[in-house]
Protein backbone atom coordinates (compact mmCIF):
# COMPACT_ATOMS: atom_id res chain seq x y z
CA UNK A 1 0.00 0.00 0.00
CA UNK A 2 2.75 2.44 1.12
CA UNK A 3 5.03 1.35 -1.73
CA UNK A 4 2.23 1.92 -4.23
CA UNK A 5 1.60 5.40 -2.87
CA UNK A 6 5.32 6.24 -3.04
CA UNK A 7 5.52 5.07 -6.67
CA UNK A 8 2.47 7.22 -7.49
CA UNK A 9 4.09 10.28 -5.93
CA UNK A 10 7.37 9.69 -7.78
CA UNK A 11 5.48 9.26 -11.07
CA UNK A 12 3.49 12.46 -10.50
CA UNK A 13 6.63 14.47 -9.69
CA UNK A 14 8.43 13.01 -12.73
CA UNK A 15 5.53 13.85 -15.02
CA UNK A 16 5.31 17.37 -13.56
CA UNK A 17 9.06 17.87 -13.99
CA UNK A 18 8.94 16.49 -17.54
CA UNK A 19 6.04 18.81 -18.37
CA UNK A 20 7.36 22.03 -16.85
CA UNK A 21 11.06 21.20 -16.88
CA UNK A 22 13.25 20.45 -13.83
CA UNK A 23 14.54 24.02 -13.77
CA UNK A 24 10.99 25.25 -13.32
CA UNK A 25 10.60 22.98 -10.29
CA UNK A 26 13.87 24.19 -8.77
CA UNK A 27 13.09 27.83 -9.52
CA UNK A 28 9.61 27.56 -8.02
CA UNK A 29 11.03 26.08 -4.82
CA UNK A 30 13.54 28.94 -4.69
CA UNK A 31 10.94 31.60 -5.28
CA UNK A 32 8.53 30.31 -2.65
CA UNK A 33 10.49 29.27 0.41
CA UNK A 34 8.39 28.40 3.44
CA UNK A 35 10.55 30.56 5.67
CA UNK A 36 13.70 32.31 4.51
CA UNK A 37 16.13 32.87 7.38
CA UNK A 38 19.77 33.12 8.39
CA UNK A 39 21.45 31.80 11.50
CA UNK A 40 24.48 33.53 13.05
CA UNK A 41 26.67 33.20 16.12
CA UNK A 42 27.17 36.35 18.19
CA UNK A 43 29.31 35.61 21.22
CA UNK A 44 27.40 33.11 23.35
CA UNK A 45 24.12 33.72 21.52
CA UNK A 46 22.57 32.47 18.33
CA UNK A 47 20.51 34.91 16.29
CA UNK A 48 18.01 33.62 13.76
CA UNK A 49 16.82 36.33 11.37
CA UNK A 50 13.64 35.64 9.44
CA UNK A 51 13.33 37.61 6.19
CA UNK A 52 10.36 36.34 4.24
CA UNK A 53 8.54 33.23 3.08
CA UNK A 54 5.05 32.16 2.16
CA UNK A 55 4.44 30.55 5.58
CA UNK A 56 5.99 33.04 7.98
CA UNK A 57 2.52 34.08 9.19
CA UNK A 58 1.82 30.48 10.21
CA UNK A 59 5.07 30.11 12.15
CA UNK A 60 4.50 29.77 15.90
CA UNK A 61 7.86 28.77 17.39
CA UNK A 62 11.47 28.35 16.36
CA UNK A 63 13.97 25.98 17.89
CA UNK A 64 17.71 25.54 17.41
CA UNK A 65 19.64 22.30 17.67
CA UNK A 66 23.42 22.14 17.87
CA UNK A 67 25.21 18.94 16.94
CA UNK A 68 26.47 17.12 20.04
CA UNK A 69 24.75 19.49 22.47
CA UNK A 70 21.54 19.06 24.47
CA UNK A 71 20.07 22.49 25.09
CA UNK A 72 17.39 23.12 27.72
CA UNK A 73 13.98 23.81 26.15
CA UNK A 74 13.95 27.32 27.65
CA UNK A 75 17.10 28.21 25.68
CA UNK A 76 16.47 26.19 22.50
CA UNK A 77 12.87 27.19 21.77
CA UNK A 78 11.50 30.70 21.23
CA UNK A 79 8.28 32.20 19.88
CA UNK A 80 8.35 33.38 16.28
CA UNK A 81 8.34 37.16 15.71
CA UNK A 82 4.87 38.70 16.02
CA UNK A 83 4.82 40.16 12.55
CA UNK A 84 6.43 37.16 10.86
CA UNK A 85 9.84 38.57 10.01
CA UNK A 86 12.53 39.77 12.40
CA UNK A 87 15.21 38.52 14.76
CA UNK A 88 14.87 35.73 17.28
CA UNK A 89 17.58 35.67 19.93
CA UNK A 90 18.63 32.41 21.58
CA UNK A 91 20.54 33.79 24.56
CA UNK A 92 23.39 31.58 25.77
CA UNK A 93 22.62 28.85 23.21
CA UNK A 94 26.28 28.43 22.25
CA UNK A 95 27.98 29.39 25.52
CA UNK A 96 31.22 27.45 25.78
CA UNK A 97 30.70 25.69 22.45
CA UNK A 98 33.81 25.35 20.30
CA UNK A 99 34.79 23.60 17.08
CA UNK A 100 32.73 22.96 13.96
CA UNK A 101 29.16 21.68 14.34
CA UNK A 102 25.94 21.48 12.36
CA UNK A 103 23.21 23.83 13.53
CA UNK A 104 19.58 23.11 12.65
CA UNK A 105 16.66 25.54 12.90
CA UNK A 106 13.19 24.03 13.09
CA UNK A 107 9.85 25.79 12.90
CA UNK A 108 6.52 24.73 14.32
CA UNK A 109 3.53 25.97 12.32
CA UNK A 110 -0.05 26.70 13.27
CA UNK A 111 -1.16 23.32 11.89
CA UNK A 112 1.03 21.66 14.52
CA UNK A 113 3.60 20.39 12.04
CA UNK A 114 7.31 20.91 12.52
CA UNK A 115 9.71 21.54 9.63
CA UNK A 116 13.49 21.77 9.30
CA UNK A 117 13.98 25.33 8.02
CA UNK A 118 17.76 25.59 7.90
CA UNK A 119 20.79 23.38 8.35
CA UNK A 120 24.14 25.16 8.39
CA UNK A 121 27.62 24.04 9.40
CA UNK A 122 28.96 26.61 11.86
CA UNK A 123 32.60 27.02 12.81
CA UNK A 124 32.13 28.19 16.40
CA UNK A 125 35.89 28.57 16.85
Amino acid sequence: MFLGLAIMVILCVSLFAAFFGTEYVIDKSLEDPDVLLNVAVVGDDIIVTIYEGRRIDELLTLSVEIEGVTLPHSIASKPAPDNGSGEVLFVGACAGITGTRDVAVRGTFSNGRSLLLKLYTVKFT
Binding site: I26, E31, A40, V41, Y51, T98, Y120, T121, K123, F124
Partner: protein, 520 residues
Protein backbone atom coordinates in the same frame (compact mmCIF):
# COMPACT_ATOMS: atom_id res chain seq x y z
CA UNK B 1 60.12 61.22 -6.52
CA UNK B 2 63.85 60.47 -6.56
CA UNK B 3 64.21 61.72 -2.99
CA UNK B 4 61.43 59.39 -1.85
CA UNK B 5 62.98 56.47 -3.73
CA UNK B 6 66.42 57.21 -2.25
CA UNK B 7 64.88 57.03 1.21
CA UNK B 8 62.87 53.89 0.52
CA UNK B 9 65.38 51.63 -1.24
CA UNK B 10 68.02 51.52 1.55
CA UNK B 11 65.34 50.51 4.03
CA UNK B 12 64.45 47.34 2.07
CA UNK B 13 68.15 46.72 1.45
CA UNK B 14 68.89 46.96 5.18
CA UNK B 15 65.98 44.70 6.08
CA UNK B 16 67.15 42.05 3.60
CA UNK B 17 70.78 42.30 4.75
CA UNK B 18 69.57 41.81 8.33
CA UNK B 19 67.67 38.70 7.21
CA UNK B 20 70.79 37.34 5.44
CA UNK B 21 72.91 38.05 8.49
CA UNK B 22 70.51 36.37 10.94
CA UNK B 23 70.05 33.35 8.68
CA UNK B 24 73.79 32.87 8.15
CA UNK B 25 74.53 33.22 11.88
CA UNK B 26 71.88 30.62 12.74
CA UNK B 27 73.19 28.29 10.02
CA UNK B 28 76.69 28.55 11.52
CA UNK B 29 75.30 27.76 14.99
CA UNK B 30 73.57 24.68 13.58
CA UNK B 31 76.81 23.32 12.09
CA UNK B 32 77.48 19.87 13.50
CA UNK B 33 74.20 19.78 15.46
CA UNK B 34 72.10 16.62 15.10
CA UNK B 35 68.54 17.15 13.80
CA UNK B 36 67.21 15.40 16.93
CA UNK B 37 68.87 17.92 19.25
CA UNK B 38 66.43 20.22 21.08
CA UNK B 39 68.61 23.21 20.21
CA UNK B 40 67.49 22.89 16.57
CA UNK B 41 63.88 23.72 17.42
CA UNK B 42 64.98 26.63 19.61
CA UNK B 43 67.28 28.01 16.91
CA UNK B 44 64.47 27.86 14.34
CA UNK B 45 62.01 29.54 16.72
CA UNK B 46 64.51 32.31 17.55
CA UNK B 47 65.18 32.96 13.87
CA UNK B 48 61.45 33.09 13.09
CA UNK B 49 60.94 35.48 16.02
CA UNK B 50 63.70 37.78 14.77
CA UNK B 51 62.34 37.92 11.20
CA UNK B 52 58.70 39.06 11.44
CA UNK B 53 58.29 38.84 7.66
CA UNK B 54 59.00 35.10 7.79
CA UNK B 55 56.30 32.50 7.39
CA UNK B 56 58.53 29.76 8.65
CA UNK B 57 62.07 28.61 9.26
CA UNK B 58 63.14 25.07 8.37
CA UNK B 59 66.04 22.78 7.55
CA UNK B 60 66.38 20.83 4.31
CA UNK B 61 68.90 17.99 3.78
CA UNK B 62 71.08 17.29 0.73
CA UNK B 63 68.22 15.27 -0.85
CA UNK B 64 65.95 18.34 -0.69
CA UNK B 65 63.88 16.69 2.08
CA UNK B 66 62.56 18.86 4.93
CA UNK B 67 64.15 17.66 8.19
CA UNK B 68 62.85 20.16 10.75
CA UNK B 69 60.34 23.01 10.78
CA UNK B 70 58.81 25.32 13.36
CA UNK B 71 55.21 25.09 14.45
CA UNK B 72 52.52 22.89 15.98
CA UNK B 73 52.13 19.20 15.17
CA UNK B 74 49.85 20.21 12.28
CA UNK B 75 52.52 22.55 10.93
CA UNK B 76 55.16 19.81 11.27
CA UNK B 77 53.47 17.77 8.55
CA UNK B 78 55.89 18.86 5.79
CA UNK B 79 58.76 17.13 7.64
CA UNK B 80 59.91 14.25 5.42
CA UNK B 81 58.47 15.80 2.25
CA UNK B 82 60.34 17.52 -0.59
CA UNK B 83 60.97 21.25 -0.40
CA UNK B 84 59.57 23.33 -3.28
CA UNK B 85 63.01 24.85 -4.01
CA UNK B 86 65.69 22.34 -4.99
CA UNK B 87 68.90 24.22 -4.22
CA UNK B 88 72.10 22.15 -4.47
CA UNK B 89 75.59 22.55 -3.02
CA UNK B 90 76.71 23.66 -6.51
CA UNK B 91 74.15 26.47 -6.52
CA UNK B 92 75.50 27.67 -3.19
CA UNK B 93 79.13 27.37 -4.35
CA UNK B 94 78.36 29.41 -7.43
CA UNK B 95 77.11 32.16 -5.15
CA UNK B 96 80.35 32.01 -3.13
CA UNK B 97 78.68 30.06 -0.27
CA UNK B 98 76.71 33.06 0.86
CA UNK B 99 72.95 33.13 1.26
CA UNK B 100 70.77 32.70 -1.78
CA UNK B 101 67.48 34.47 -2.32
CA UNK B 102 65.19 32.42 -4.53
CA UNK B 103 62.63 33.38 -7.11
CA UNK B 104 58.97 33.65 -6.14
CA UNK B 105 57.19 30.43 -5.07
CA UNK B 106 53.69 29.32 -4.19
CA UNK B 107 54.25 27.06 -1.19
CA UNK B 108 52.35 23.84 -0.51
CA UNK B 109 49.96 25.61 1.88
CA UNK B 110 49.03 28.21 -0.76
CA UNK B 111 51.10 31.00 0.74
CA UNK B 112 53.44 32.82 -1.62
CA UNK B 113 56.85 34.35 -1.23
CA UNK B 114 60.59 33.97 -1.59
CA UNK B 115 63.10 31.89 0.37
CA UNK B 116 66.44 32.93 1.85
CA UNK B 117 68.74 29.92 1.99
CA UNK B 118 72.05 29.48 3.85
CA UNK B 119 74.27 26.37 3.79
CA UNK B 120 74.83 24.21 6.88
CA UNK B 121 78.01 22.20 7.33
CA UNK B 122 78.96 19.38 9.70
CA UNK B 123 81.72 19.89 12.26
CA UNK B 124 84.27 18.51 9.73
CA UNK B 125 83.12 20.91 7.03
CA UNK B 126 80.92 18.54 5.00
CA UNK B 127 77.85 20.14 3.43
CA UNK B 128 74.78 18.68 5.20
CA UNK B 129 71.92 20.80 3.88
CA UNK B 130 70.43 24.26 4.16
CA UNK B 131 68.65 26.51 6.60
CA UNK B 132 65.70 28.23 4.93
CA UNK B 133 63.50 31.17 5.77
CA UNK B 134 60.31 31.51 3.74
CA UNK B 135 59.40 35.19 3.48
CA UNK B 136 56.15 37.02 2.83
CA UNK B 137 57.25 39.80 0.48
CA UNK B 138 54.06 41.72 1.18
CA UNK B 139 55.07 41.89 4.84
CA UNK B 140 58.63 42.71 3.90
CA UNK B 141 57.63 45.76 1.89
CA UNK B 142 54.36 46.88 3.44
CA UNK B 143 55.71 48.64 6.53
CA UNK B 144 58.05 50.79 4.45
CA UNK B 145 55.37 51.37 1.78
CA UNK B 146 52.90 52.42 4.46
CA UNK B 147 55.41 55.05 5.63
CA UNK B 148 56.14 56.13 2.05
CA UNK B 149 52.42 56.63 1.39
CA UNK B 150 52.09 58.67 4.52
CA UNK B 151 55.17 60.83 3.92
CA UNK B 152 54.98 61.33 0.14
CA UNK B 153 51.74 59.84 -1.24
CA UNK B 154 53.65 57.39 -3.46
CA UNK B 155 53.62 53.62 -3.68
CA UNK B 156 55.94 50.84 -4.87
CA UNK B 157 56.06 47.81 -7.09
CA UNK B 158 59.06 45.55 -7.32
CA UNK B 159 60.17 42.86 -9.77
CA UNK B 160 63.02 40.38 -10.03
CA UNK B 161 65.32 40.34 -13.05
CA UNK B 162 63.05 37.85 -14.81
CA UNK B 163 60.07 40.20 -14.55
CA UNK B 164 58.38 38.32 -11.68
CA UNK B 165 56.39 40.69 -9.48
CA UNK B 166 57.50 40.32 -5.85
CA UNK B 167 55.68 43.34 -4.43
CA UNK B 168 52.56 45.24 -5.38
CA UNK B 169 49.80 46.54 -3.15
CA UNK B 170 47.25 44.25 -4.81
CA UNK B 171 48.87 41.14 -3.43
CA UNK B 172 46.94 38.70 -5.61
CA UNK B 173 49.20 39.80 -8.47
CA UNK B 174 52.38 38.73 -6.66
CA UNK B 175 54.28 36.05 -8.53
CA UNK B 176 52.84 37.10 -11.90
CA UNK B 177 55.43 37.75 -14.58
CA UNK B 178 55.16 41.30 -15.90
CA UNK B 179 56.83 40.26 -19.17
CA UNK B 180 54.32 37.62 -20.21
CA UNK B 181 51.23 37.63 -17.97
CA UNK B 182 48.01 38.58 -19.74
CA UNK B 183 47.41 41.45 -17.32
CA UNK B 184 50.50 43.18 -18.66
CA UNK B 185 50.13 42.36 -22.36
CA UNK B 186 49.06 45.87 -23.34
CA UNK B 187 51.89 47.57 -25.14
CA UNK B 188 52.34 50.35 -22.61
CA UNK B 189 52.66 48.14 -19.55
CA UNK B 190 54.72 45.51 -21.38
CA UNK B 191 57.18 48.17 -22.53
CA UNK B 192 57.53 49.45 -18.99
CA UNK B 193 58.24 45.98 -17.61
CA UNK B 194 60.77 45.33 -20.36
CA UNK B 195 62.55 48.62 -19.79
CA UNK B 196 62.62 48.17 -16.01
CA UNK B 197 64.07 44.65 -16.27
CA UNK B 198 66.71 45.79 -18.78
CA UNK B 199 67.94 48.93 -17.04
CA UNK B 200 68.98 49.12 -13.38
CA UNK B 201 67.61 52.61 -12.97
CA UNK B 202 65.50 55.13 -14.83
CA UNK B 203 62.18 56.90 -15.08
CA UNK B 204 59.12 56.61 -17.29
CA UNK B 205 55.48 57.58 -17.62
CA UNK B 206 52.89 55.00 -18.67
CA UNK B 207 49.17 54.26 -18.66
CA UNK B 208 47.97 51.45 -16.40
CA UNK B 209 45.35 50.65 -13.80
CA UNK B 210 45.80 52.68 -10.65
CA UNK B 211 45.87 51.02 -7.24
CA UNK B 212 42.35 49.68 -6.75
CA UNK B 213 41.98 48.56 -10.40
CA UNK B 214 38.94 50.71 -11.05
CA UNK B 215 40.27 52.88 -13.83
CA UNK B 216 43.39 53.56 -15.84
CA UNK B 217 45.46 56.65 -15.51
CA UNK B 218 48.84 58.17 -16.34
CA UNK B 219 51.45 56.90 -13.92
CA UNK B 220 54.89 58.40 -13.41
CA UNK B 221 57.60 56.07 -12.17
CA UNK B 222 61.25 56.13 -11.12
CA UNK B 223 63.20 53.02 -10.31
CA UNK B 224 66.43 51.79 -8.80
CA UNK B 225 68.03 48.41 -8.11
CA UNK B 226 68.92 46.45 -4.99
CA UNK B 227 71.67 43.86 -5.49
CA UNK B 228 72.27 40.92 -3.17
CA UNK B 229 75.52 38.97 -2.59
CA UNK B 230 74.32 36.01 -4.70
CA UNK B 231 73.88 38.31 -7.71
CA UNK B 232 70.09 38.58 -7.45
CA UNK B 233 68.69 41.98 -8.31
CA UNK B 234 65.35 43.53 -7.43
CA UNK B 235 64.06 46.55 -9.28
CA UNK B 236 62.26 48.91 -6.91
CA UNK B 237 59.78 51.05 -8.85
CA UNK B 238 58.24 54.07 -7.15
CA UNK B 239 55.00 55.37 -8.68
CA UNK B 240 52.61 58.23 -8.14
CA UNK B 241 49.37 56.39 -8.96
CA UNK B 242 48.02 57.14 -5.50
CA UNK B 243 49.18 60.73 -5.64
CA UNK B 244 47.46 62.84 -3.03
CA UNK B 245 46.96 65.37 -5.85
CA UNK B 246 44.28 63.07 -7.26
CA UNK B 247 42.14 63.33 -4.19
CA UNK B 248 38.91 65.10 -4.84
CA UNK B 249 38.12 66.54 -1.46
CA UNK B 250 34.86 67.98 -2.75
CA UNK B 251 33.69 64.61 -3.99
CA UNK B 252 30.23 64.00 -2.62
CA UNK B 253 31.22 60.42 -1.85
CA UNK B 254 34.41 61.34 0.01
CA UNK B 255 32.60 60.46 3.21
CA UNK B 256 30.16 57.61 3.41
CA UNK B 257 26.52 58.44 2.80
CA UNK B 258 25.40 55.22 4.46
CA UNK B 259 25.27 53.92 8.00
CA UNK B 260 26.43 50.45 9.07
CA UNK B 261 22.79 49.55 9.61
CA UNK B 262 21.99 50.52 6.00
CA UNK B 263 25.01 48.49 4.90
CA UNK B 264 23.56 45.43 6.63
CA UNK B 265 20.11 46.01 5.10
CA UNK B 266 21.72 46.28 1.64
CA UNK B 267 23.48 42.92 2.09
CA UNK B 268 20.33 41.29 3.48
CA UNK B 269 18.39 42.38 0.39
CA UNK B 270 21.03 40.65 -1.74
CA UNK B 271 20.87 37.61 0.56
CA UNK B 272 17.13 37.26 -0.04
CA UNK B 273 17.70 37.64 -3.78
CA UNK B 274 20.41 34.96 -3.78
CA UNK B 275 18.23 32.60 -1.76
CA UNK B 276 15.28 33.00 -4.11
CA UNK B 277 17.16 32.79 -7.42
CA UNK B 278 19.68 30.43 -8.92
CA UNK B 279 23.35 31.08 -8.18
CA UNK B 280 23.91 32.06 -11.82
CA UNK B 281 21.06 34.58 -11.76
CA UNK B 282 22.26 36.05 -8.48
CA UNK B 283 25.88 36.44 -9.62
CA UNK B 284 24.75 38.02 -12.89
CA UNK B 285 22.72 40.56 -10.92
CA UNK B 286 25.57 41.28 -8.47
CA UNK B 287 28.07 41.82 -11.31
CA UNK B 288 25.74 44.20 -13.19
CA UNK B 289 27.10 47.74 -12.72
CA UNK B 290 23.72 49.13 -13.75
CA UNK B 291 21.70 46.73 -11.65
CA UNK B 292 19.81 46.98 -8.37
CA UNK B 293 22.77 45.84 -6.28
CA UNK B 294 24.77 49.01 -6.86
CA UNK B 295 23.79 51.94 -4.68
CA UNK B 296 26.27 54.80 -4.56
CA UNK B 297 29.43 53.46 -2.95
CA UNK B 298 27.70 50.20 -1.99
CA UNK B 299 28.00 47.13 -4.19
CA UNK B 300 27.73 43.41 -3.56
CA UNK B 301 30.80 41.19 -3.77
CA UNK B 302 30.75 37.40 -3.67
CA UNK B 303 33.37 34.72 -3.12
CA UNK B 304 33.29 30.98 -2.84
CA UNK B 305 34.38 29.48 0.43
CA UNK B 306 37.89 28.88 -0.98
CA UNK B 307 38.36 32.56 -1.79
CA UNK B 308 37.66 32.55 -5.55
CA UNK B 309 36.01 35.77 -6.72
CA UNK B 310 32.44 35.29 -7.98
CA UNK B 311 31.16 38.88 -8.05
CA UNK B 312 33.08 42.15 -7.97
CA UNK B 313 31.30 44.62 -10.25
CA UNK B 314 34.01 47.30 -10.31
CA UNK B 315 36.94 44.87 -10.62
CA UNK B 316 35.59 42.28 -13.04
CA UNK B 317 39.13 41.41 -14.12
CA UNK B 318 39.45 39.65 -10.75
CA UNK B 319 36.49 37.30 -11.38
CA UNK B 320 37.65 33.70 -11.13
CA UNK B 321 40.85 34.77 -9.36
CA UNK B 322 41.53 33.19 -5.98
CA UNK B 323 42.11 35.93 -3.40
CA UNK B 324 42.50 33.75 -0.32
CA UNK B 325 46.01 35.05 0.30
CA UNK B 326 45.20 38.69 -0.54
CA UNK B 327 46.55 41.00 2.16
CA UNK B 328 45.83 44.60 2.96
CA UNK B 329 48.58 47.14 3.62
CA UNK B 330 49.04 45.85 7.18
CA UNK B 331 49.13 42.18 6.25
CA UNK B 332 45.58 41.26 7.23
CA UNK B 333 44.30 38.54 4.89
CA UNK B 334 40.89 40.11 4.45
CA UNK B 335 39.20 37.46 2.33
CA UNK B 336 40.20 34.86 4.94
CA UNK B 337 38.70 37.07 7.65
CA UNK B 338 35.46 37.37 5.66
CA UNK B 339 35.31 33.61 5.18
CA UNK B 340 35.86 33.08 8.92
CA UNK B 341 32.99 35.45 9.69
CA UNK B 342 30.61 33.76 7.26
CA UNK B 343 31.47 30.39 8.77
CA UNK B 344 29.81 31.75 11.93
CA UNK B 345 26.74 32.87 10.03
CA UNK B 346 27.99 36.30 8.96
CA UNK B 347 28.47 39.72 10.46
CA UNK B 348 30.83 42.69 10.36
CA UNK B 349 34.53 42.50 9.35
CA UNK B 350 37.20 45.20 8.91
CA UNK B 351 40.05 45.65 6.49
CA UNK B 352 42.02 48.52 4.97
CA UNK B 353 41.16 48.92 1.29
CA UNK B 354 41.85 51.52 -1.42
CA UNK B 355 39.14 54.19 -1.36
CA UNK B 356 38.46 55.47 -4.91
CA UNK B 357 37.02 58.69 -3.44
CA UNK B 358 40.28 59.42 -1.61
CA UNK B 359 42.81 58.85 -4.40
CA UNK B 360 42.89 55.12 -3.56
CA UNK B 361 44.35 55.81 -0.16
CA UNK B 362 43.97 52.84 2.18
CA UNK B 363 41.16 53.44 4.61
CA UNK B 364 39.35 51.33 7.12
CA UNK B 365 36.58 49.52 5.31
CA UNK B 366 33.72 48.08 7.24
CA UNK B 367 32.21 45.03 5.53
CA UNK B 368 29.09 43.04 6.29
CA UNK B 369 29.15 39.46 5.02
CA UNK B 370 26.54 36.68 4.90
CA UNK B 371 26.78 33.04 3.81
CA UNK B 372 24.38 31.98 1.06
CA UNK B 373 25.20 28.39 2.00
CA UNK B 374 28.32 26.54 3.12
CA UNK B 375 29.85 27.00 -0.36
CA UNK B 376 29.71 30.74 -1.05
CA UNK B 377 29.01 34.08 0.55
CA UNK B 378 28.23 37.70 -0.26
CA UNK B 379 29.05 41.02 1.33
CA UNK B 380 29.36 44.76 0.88
CA UNK B 381 31.47 47.40 2.53
CA UNK B 382 31.72 51.07 3.28
CA UNK B 383 34.55 53.33 4.31
CA UNK B 384 34.37 54.57 7.86
CA UNK B 385 34.34 58.34 7.97
CA UNK B 386 37.53 59.87 9.30
CA UNK B 387 38.93 56.47 10.17
CA UNK B 388 42.39 56.12 8.74
CA UNK B 389 45.30 54.98 10.81
CA UNK B 390 48.87 56.12 11.09
CA UNK B 391 51.42 53.73 9.51
CA UNK B 392 52.09 50.94 11.99
CA UNK B 393 54.46 48.66 10.06
CA UNK B 394 57.31 48.86 12.57
CA UNK B 395 54.97 48.39 15.54
CA UNK B 396 53.31 45.48 13.77
CA UNK B 397 56.72 43.81 13.36
CA UNK B 398 57.46 44.34 17.05
CA UNK B 399 54.11 42.79 17.89
CA UNK B 400 54.81 39.73 15.74
CA UNK B 401 58.27 39.34 17.30
CA UNK B 402 56.77 39.65 20.79
CA UNK B 403 54.23 36.88 20.19
CA UNK B 404 56.82 34.66 18.53
CA UNK B 405 59.07 35.28 21.53
CA UNK B 406 56.30 33.85 23.75
CA UNK B 407 56.33 30.81 21.49
CA UNK B 408 60.09 30.49 21.98
CA UNK B 409 59.90 31.06 25.75
CA UNK B 410 57.18 28.40 26.08
CA UNK B 411 59.83 25.87 25.01
CA UNK B 412 62.34 26.85 27.67
CA UNK B 413 60.16 27.53 30.72
CA UNK B 414 57.01 26.12 32.35
CA UNK B 415 53.85 27.74 30.96
CA UNK B 416 52.63 29.03 34.35
CA UNK B 417 55.94 30.90 34.72
CA UNK B 418 55.50 32.42 31.25
CA UNK B 419 51.92 33.44 32.07
CA UNK B 420 53.16 35.11 35.28
CA UNK B 421 55.70 37.05 33.20
CA UNK B 422 52.95 38.17 30.81
CA UNK B 423 50.73 39.25 33.68
CA UNK B 424 53.50 41.36 35.22
CA UNK B 425 52.65 44.66 33.52
CA UNK B 426 55.97 46.17 34.60
CA UNK B 427 58.06 43.16 33.56
CA UNK B 428 60.89 43.18 31.01
CA UNK B 429 58.81 41.15 28.57
CA UNK B 430 56.42 44.08 28.02
CA UNK B 431 56.83 46.50 25.10
CA UNK B 432 55.42 50.03 25.15
CA UNK B 433 52.28 50.24 23.02
CA UNK B 434 51.70 46.48 22.89
CA UNK B 435 49.02 44.65 24.87
CA UNK B 436 49.79 40.91 25.01
CA UNK B 437 47.32 38.22 26.00
CA UNK B 438 47.03 34.44 26.25
CA UNK B 439 44.02 32.14 26.12
CA UNK B 440 43.10 28.48 25.96
CA UNK B 441 41.38 27.16 22.87
CA UNK B 442 38.22 26.75 24.95
CA UNK B 443 38.23 30.52 25.56
CA UNK B 444 39.59 30.89 29.11
CA UNK B 445 41.71 34.03 29.40
CA UNK B 446 45.12 33.31 30.95
CA UNK B 447 46.56 36.77 30.48
CA UNK B 448 45.20 40.12 29.23
CA UNK B 449 47.45 43.09 29.86
CA UNK B 450 44.90 45.66 28.65
CA UNK B 451 42.44 44.64 31.39
CA UNK B 452 43.83 42.12 33.92
CA UNK B 453 40.45 42.02 35.70
CA UNK B 454 39.11 39.62 33.02
CA UNK B 455 41.78 36.95 33.61
CA UNK B 456 40.11 33.62 34.32
CA UNK B 457 36.92 34.55 32.45
CA UNK B 458 35.78 32.81 29.29
CA UNK B 459 35.84 35.33 26.44
CA UNK B 460 33.88 33.41 23.80
CA UNK B 461 30.79 35.33 24.86
CA UNK B 462 32.45 38.75 24.82
CA UNK B 463 31.26 40.80 21.85
CA UNK B 464 32.05 44.35 20.83
CA UNK B 465 29.53 46.95 19.73
CA UNK B 466 29.34 45.30 16.28
CA UNK B 467 28.68 41.79 17.56
CA UNK B 468 32.24 40.61 16.86
CA UNK B 469 33.71 38.06 19.27
CA UNK B 470 37.50 38.32 19.33
CA UNK B 471 37.77 34.89 20.93
CA UNK B 472 35.67 33.19 18.30
CA UNK B 473 37.71 34.89 15.57
CA UNK B 474 41.17 34.54 17.09
CA UNK B 475 40.98 30.85 18.04
CA UNK B 476 40.51 29.48 14.50
CA UNK B 477 43.11 31.96 13.21
CA UNK B 478 45.63 30.69 15.79
CA UNK B 479 44.71 27.08 15.08
CA UNK B 480 45.36 27.63 11.38
CA UNK B 481 48.91 28.79 12.14
CA UNK B 482 48.33 32.38 13.26
CA UNK B 483 47.95 35.77 11.65
CA UNK B 484 46.57 39.29 11.90
CA UNK B 485 43.05 40.62 12.35
CA UNK B 486 41.40 43.94 13.15
CA UNK B 487 38.80 44.36 15.84
CA UNK B 488 37.27 46.76 18.29
CA UNK B 489 38.00 46.05 21.96
CA UNK B 490 36.98 47.70 25.16
CA UNK B 491 39.65 50.02 26.56
CA UNK B 492 39.03 50.30 30.32
CA UNK B 493 41.13 53.50 30.54
CA UNK B 494 39.29 55.30 27.73
CA UNK B 495 36.01 53.59 28.69
CA UNK B 496 35.08 52.94 25.05
CA UNK B 497 35.77 50.50 22.23
CA UNK B 498 39.02 51.19 20.34
CA UNK B 499 40.23 49.89 16.96
CA UNK B 500 43.07 47.40 17.36
CA UNK B 501 45.33 45.28 15.20
CA UNK B 502 45.77 41.82 16.74
CA UNK B 503 48.36 39.11 16.02
CA UNK B 504 47.92 35.56 17.30
CA UNK B 505 50.03 32.40 17.13
CA UNK B 506 49.50 28.85 18.39
CA UNK B 507 51.89 28.25 21.28
CA UNK B 508 51.00 24.89 22.81
CA UNK B 509 48.45 22.24 21.83
CA UNK B 510 45.94 23.90 24.21
CA UNK B 511 46.80 27.60 24.18
CA UNK B 512 47.39 30.48 21.85
CA UNK B 513 49.10 33.78 22.54
CA UNK B 514 48.61 37.15 21.00
CA UNK B 515 49.23 40.84 21.25
CA UNK B 516 47.52 43.98 20.03
CA UNK B 517 48.22 47.58 18.98
CA UNK B 518 45.72 50.37 19.43
CA UNK B 519 45.40 51.91 15.97
CA UNK B 520 43.70 55.21 16.79
Amino acid sequence: MHVALDEFTPRIEEDMNEIFSLTEATARNLSGVSMGDSSVELALLQLRRDIPASYNTYIVDTNNTIQAITGTSEEQKPVGTQSCANITEEDLKSSKNTSIVTSFYTFNDGKQGIIVISPIYSSNGTYTGTLRVSLDTAYLFSGAVDQLRSDYGYTIWSIQQDGCLIYYEDTELLGKNTLNNEIYTEESSFNVAQLVTEKPEGNISYVFYNVGWVEKGLINAVWDTISFPDGTEWRIVLTDDISMNNIDTDNEHSSSQFTTSELRTFVEKAYVYAQTHTKEEALKAFNDRNGEFINGELYIFAYDINGTTLALPYQTQLLGINRLQAEDITGVKYVQREIARTEQGGGYVYCQYPNPAKGFARELKFAYVMPINNNWFIGAGLYMDNTSFEPCGDMRNEMISQVRNFQYLSKIMPEDELISMLNDTNGSIQVDGLYPFASTYSGTILSYVMDPSVIGNNHLGYVNSYGMSIGREAIPLAQSGGGLLYSLVWDPELERDVYVLIYVEPVTEDTYYGSMIILE
